[in-house]
């Protein structure tokens, strides 16, 4: 499974725009600041190129929580920013009560486990607790999926992983292009050889 061509184009367009904004507008940036700006651009590019998923909204919302990011985000996204950060009113009530129920279940099971002798616990109960733990871990990694479970959670995760892989792949390609242009500038006559040795990297 791969991201589509249109995703790749949209991603590169947004990423280059973000890089341009961070490279040109903020000339006196420290290396760390520039790195954060590029990473931010890459995440925004990925979310806006994909659009319309739980994780894309979750990611943009998470990124816009920091004040310093918000203005940069608005700069990159323009009118899309309002659309992408609009809260989905329908889903607020249920997750909140679900969280409370889940939290109380977790406290209850923890109390139960403390009272019970370890060798008395059935393996199926342990397995279920492990799945729960790992599901919580997954929810911390994939943005915007707090309220999801089962099939929907896996579906969003799959989509997110495919997009992440494309993000890595495209950033690598961009890096390669820039580095190759550097080598090209240094020695035009031996360019083919240089390119070949570089592709091997």
């Amino acid at each position: 499974m791969q991201a589509t061509k249109s995703f790749e184009q949209a991603f590169l367009k947004h990423l280059l725009r973000g890089c341009r904004l961070s490279a040109v507008s903020y000339k006196s940036m420290s290396l760390q600041e520039r790195k954060s700006a590029i990473k931010l651009s890459a995440d925004v590019a990925m979310a806006s190129a994909r659009g319309g998923r739980k994780w894309t909204r979750g990611l943009i919302t998470k990124l816009s929580k920091e004040d310093e990011h918000r203005s940069f985000l608005q700069l990159i996204l323009g009118t899309e920013y309002g659309r992408l950060t609009k809260p989905c009113h329908g889903s607020w009530k249920i997750p909140r009560s679900k969280k409370i129920v889940r939290r109380s279940l977790r406290v209850c099971s923890r109390r139960k486990n403390n009272l019970r002798a370890p060798h008395g616990v059935k393996s199926s109960v342990l397995a279920r607790t492990l799945v729960e733990k790992r599901t919580h871990a997954l929810k911390r990694l994939v943005p915007g999926v707090e309220s999801l479970d089962g099939y929907s959670l896996l579906d969003e995760t799959l989509d997110y992983v495919i997009s992440l892989r494309a993000q890595v792949d495209l950033m690598q390609k961009l890096l390669t292009t820039f580095e190759a242009s550097k080598l090209g500038a240094l020695s035009k006559c031996t360019l083919p050889e240089r390119k070949a040795s570089f592709v091997g990297k």
Binding site: R134, L138, T157, G184
Partner: protein
């Protein structure tokens, strides 16, 4: 535990989704997946996502190093600048 929706998601759809997710995981992590359990799949997926996040972080570092070379006014800076401008 999981939300009870009225949508009829079949066992087939679930196992298809699971195998799709498994196929995304890199080869090295897939070796012990023949005895795949939900817990194992979740663990491998989590660590794969973490490693992808690290890769993005590393690539951002390297791209920012390159952007910094733009300030130097060298010929490569001009090339990079023209790529960014297009």
């Amino acid at each position: 535990m999981s939300s009870r929706r009225s949508s009829r998601i079949t066992d087939e759809e679930i196992s298809e989704l699971i195998s799709k997710l498994q196929s995304l995981l890199p080869e090295s992590r897939r070796r012990s997946m023949s005895r795949a359990s939900a817990a194992k799949l979740l663990k491998e997926t989590c660590s794969y996502i973490k490693s992808l996040h690290r890769e993005v972080d590393d690539l951002s570092d390297r791209l920012s190093d390159l952007m910094s070379s733009m300030d130097s006014g060298s010929p490569q800076a001009d090339i990079i600048r023209s790529i960014l401008r297009s």
